[in-house]
């Protein structure tokens, strides 16, 4: 297992910058939740959450400075989560007697 670019760590400034950005994004998601965005409220909230999660993973968890194999494990976990949710939902929405069935 050889590390590709596994050396180097974030500077103190990078940590503080990420922290400040996470706080701003938290305020932004609270503000956005009260806006009337129609069907877009949830996608906007999730987009902000994904951005925050990426900042935590890349900088706080050093994913950016980790071997490619680590990024591979993370990608695999997100992919399996997507399978879990998408396949379950596709099953539920295709049953006409359930309330989730699109009408």
């Amino acid at each position: 297992m050889s590390g590709d670019g596994s050396h180097g760590h974030p500077t103190l400034g990078a940590y503080l910058g990420v922290f400040a950005t996470l706080m701003v994004l938290t305020a932004l998601t609270v503000w956005a939740a009260f806006q009337h965005l129609g069907v877009w409220n949830t996608p906007v909230a999730l987009a902000i959450a994904v951005t925050k999660a990426l900042l935590v993973a890349l900088i706080f968890m050093h994913l950016r400075y980790s071997p490619k194999l680590t990024a591979f494990v993370v990608t695999a976990s997100v992919l399996w989560l997507a399978f879990l949710i998408l396949i379950t939902i596709s099953d539920y929405v295709s049953r006409a007697w359930l309330p989730i069935y699109p009408r």
Binding site: S6, T26, A33, F60
Partner: protein, 229 residues
Amino acid sequence: MADAATLAPEQPPELRHHFANLEAQKEDSSLGMWIFLATEVLFFGGMFTAYTVYRSSYRAAFEGASNLLDIRLGALNTGVLILSSLTMALAVRAASQGKKKWIVLFLVATIVLGGVFLGVKVVEYKEKFDRHEVPGPHFVVPMNEETHQPLPRQSEMFFSLYFCMTGLHALHMVIGIGLLTWLIVKATKGAFTARYNSPVEMVGLYWHFVDIVWIFLFPLLYLLGRHTL
């Protein structure tokens, strides 16, 4: 055995014999931790899936019940947890520089912030018990504060998911605080140096993961119905 004897002076005590060197040991610890976190993604993933199915099924009930959560306490806890992630990251940084005093200081700060988070959670849970919004035999269907009409019956489903998801998250926080306590004891004894600090880094990964789970729980549980107010 003669080989082992000649090698002994070069073998640092923290290096397990099946690793070639400390660098390889560190990379493998990290990979193992990330694989564990991948299983945690799916552990929480089951609940996020259930949430997606039932929220899509009972939109009005979920939006109405979500609006009964205290957004200020939820936002406060989000800030507290993000701050605790910063102190955890700084503890890992101090560990990589072998600065014992700072490792202990930042780990203690992380525990305190984790404690504040759980304290706020206790206040929130108690309010839900007092208002009979906890699923079970004592559940009373809450009223919509604007229209003074009862919420749909499935609001109980929202609170079931709320307690399961935040409860599992809080359990992870409690375990995290236990791990941090263990780290502080070891750090005080000078166990972590610039050469060897994997335990601090691994607990750090775990703590940041728990933070990420909350980053998704906060909008999905507290914010989903605010635009209907």
